[in-house]
Amino acid sequence: MSGDLTFDVIGAQGPRRFFQALTRDTIAHAYLFTGPGGTGKKTFARRLAQALLCRAPGAGTAGYDGTCDSCRLFSAGEDTRNPDFIEHTGVMKIGDPDKPLGFYEGDDLTSRDLVRNLSLQSYLGGMRVLLLGDVSFATPESANALLKILEEPPAGLVMLMTTSAPDRLLETIRSRAIDVRFPSLAPAEIREILIRRGFDEERAALGATLGGGSATRAMAALDEEEESLRSQVAAWFFSAAAGGDAPEQSWATRETLAEGLEIVKTLARDWVALGVAGEGVRLSAPDYGTQLRDLAPMESRAAVAMLASLDEAQRIARSNVPPSLVGEMVRMAITRVA
């Protein structure tokens, strides 16, 4: 039967192997998933929760079948959830001691709500999983309220916490959970995640380069891309490289000059690299590959001169020279070779 089980995560091979080696009986009661943001810690935790609560024979840390009563509540979306899976993201508050009794899951789940919920038996009769994503506590009291659960966990409870800043957690919490490290994602993994989220191949490939190992950052970068400085600078760059008539230097302002120059340098280096090494060279800005290839290849001496001028422009940019002047200097360096 276990052949029908899946565990749908991209990347996280290490954590995957770590949990596969465990069973529902040998799994500990608390884990702290650490690693850079956007590396799939919460996604992994949700899949692990689904697997631990799956009712298919053989299911467990190995995976879930995706069709049982429990799995259906996981896959149904935002409107419902498995009663034995509690998820909260962000800051935990202690909760109001004067709040009327009764099970209350308000807009903001508090430590007190959790303690109360976990004092009851599981709803469906099996394990229970608590996911505290980007875990942080408003006050030491709100953290301490959960200490009892960490010290004497109810049978069948697995508590998963994720954070990209483990040092900010109280030592009392950290020391009671097992650390599981999530590495940065490889570009190919980010690409796959983006494609699954509905991005087309080209955008996914771009996101993979911009993400820097984080799927969250990749998506944020893609969202902003349209409006971004990068696209403005690129448009200006190609217009200048085509020897066009002095395009407007909208990017050369006091705030954006330094970043804009970095982008110009990236594109210029790609241009040089294409000229020197030809096709097959690995570009730093692959999304502009077509436009870069359309530019006339340059002589190596001209290339060195252009890159030197760009370095000089960067140096001047740190001084009190007006940004527009620096922009003009860069434009001249580019049009000279073109």
Partner: protein
């Protein structure tokens, strides 16, 4: 799903089940009620994941099936319908009502995304007379703790079942209430459940006392307890934990006792408590020569002195109690006379009706205060 039913029946069932719906839930489907139609019956269910209420009613089921609709919207709509019949049909995304010349479509969520209840656990099903269960609930849950800091176990009421004997116990560490009765159909062997007291007061309110109540444990670890009477059912998640050994606090034997008029003693204590002020409402009971003297004093309010005639057995004694706790207990003694037994001034006292009460045996234990 397609049913034809009376507007009155469906309105009262949806209204009854909706009570448990939490307006602030973050899970949208939990603000809905689930309607399931089958075999000439529609059952309406709502839950806050701790307490689940179900209410059924008879209807003409043209097509079995289920639908979930927003509880507040739907119950308010139904409450405003004139008496008559209506036709309700439901799909995964829509619930449609035809009533006279009006047509309403409500947005629904898929019924199979509604949290299911676990299956009945084997061998833990019993039945009890409705009045006995209600008497037991009334006699015990007031003594349960209402301080969350003391833990969920003490906030619950223990159900201890051994064959056909049911013992209900609630305590907050200062006082203890125990009610013993017999079941109609018992279980083989014994079981212990800790039931959240909130669910029991809900049960006492909703399940009619005239009927037999069927009780079943649900889930592989007896995760939930379901109480069913006729068309109504209440299901509650049980408390996870060990109930303290309550037998330990009940003294095995006593060496003196009094029989006292219940309402007279309540009156004395209520008046004396006014004077006792903030000193833990402390009143002193001095028993001597067939007389009980109740005294209290405080620097702020003054002093109190009351005398009642009692039937005394054993030696004289002076003992102090929290007046409020003692009044709480005496308020649950339904007989004209109350028997109080003692074992010295520092041991817990036992309080019970002086005459046997039909249906169940009550016992209360109260810790004395240091004088």
């Amino acid at each position: 799903m397609k049913v034809i039913c009376s507007t009155k029946d469906i309105a009262s069932a949806v209204g009854a089940a909706s009570k448990v719906v939490n307006a602030h839930t973050t899970v949208p489907i939990l603000s809905n009620v689930l309607l399931q139609a089958e075999d000439g019956k529609v059952s309406v269910r709502a839950t806050d994941l701790e307490l689940t209420l179900e209410q059924g009613f008879a209807a003409e089921v043209a097509e079995p099936g289920s639908v979930t609709v927003p509880a507040k919207l739907f119950s308010t709509y139904l409450a405003n319908l004139a008496a008559g019949t209506m036709e309700l049909s439901g799909t995964a995304t829509r619930a449609s009502v035809k009533c006279g010349k009006s047509n309403y479509d409500f947005h629904a969520l898929p019924a199979d995304e509604y949290p299911p209840l676990p299956a009945v656990a084997r061998g833990s099903h019993f039945t009890i007379n409705g009045k006995r269960l209600r008497d037991g609930i009334e006699a015990t849950i007031f003594a349960a703790s209402n301080e969350e800091a003391r833990g969920a176990v003490l906030m619950g009421t223990l159900f201890e079942i051994d064959g056909t004997a049911l013992t209900m116990v609630a305590t907050d560490g200062y006082r203890l209430a125990k009610f013993q009765t017999t079941l109609e159909d018992g279980i083989s062997g014994s079981e212990r459940y800790i039931v959240p007291s909130r669910a029991l007061s809900e049960a006492a309110r909703n399940l009619s006392a005239g009927e037999t109540i069927a009780v079943s444990a649900l889930g592989p670890q007896s995760n939930q307890l379901q109480m069913t009477a006729g068309d109504a059912a209440i299901t509650v998640r049980l408390v996870d934990g060990q109930y303290p050994n309550y037998q330990q606090v009940i003294p095995a034997k006593f060496d003196r006792s009094v029989k006292v008029n219940t309402s007279a003693l309540i009156g004395c204590l209520r008046r004396a408590e006014l004077v006792a002020g903030d000193r833990a409402s402390m009143v002193k009971l001095a028993i001597s020569g067939q007389t009980l003297v109740v005294t209290a004093s405080s620097d702020v309010s003054g002093t109190a002195y009351e005398e009642i005639e009692v039937e005394q057995t054993g030696e004289d004694l002076t003992i102090a109690f929290n007046a409020r706790y003692l009044v709480d207990i005496l308020n649950h003694v339904k007989t004209p006379q109350t028997a109080i037994e003692f074992l010295g001034p520092l041991s817990p006292a036992a309080i019970r009706p002086a005459e046997p009460v039909e249906g169940g045996e009550q016992l209360y234990v109260l810790m004395p205060l240091r004088q």
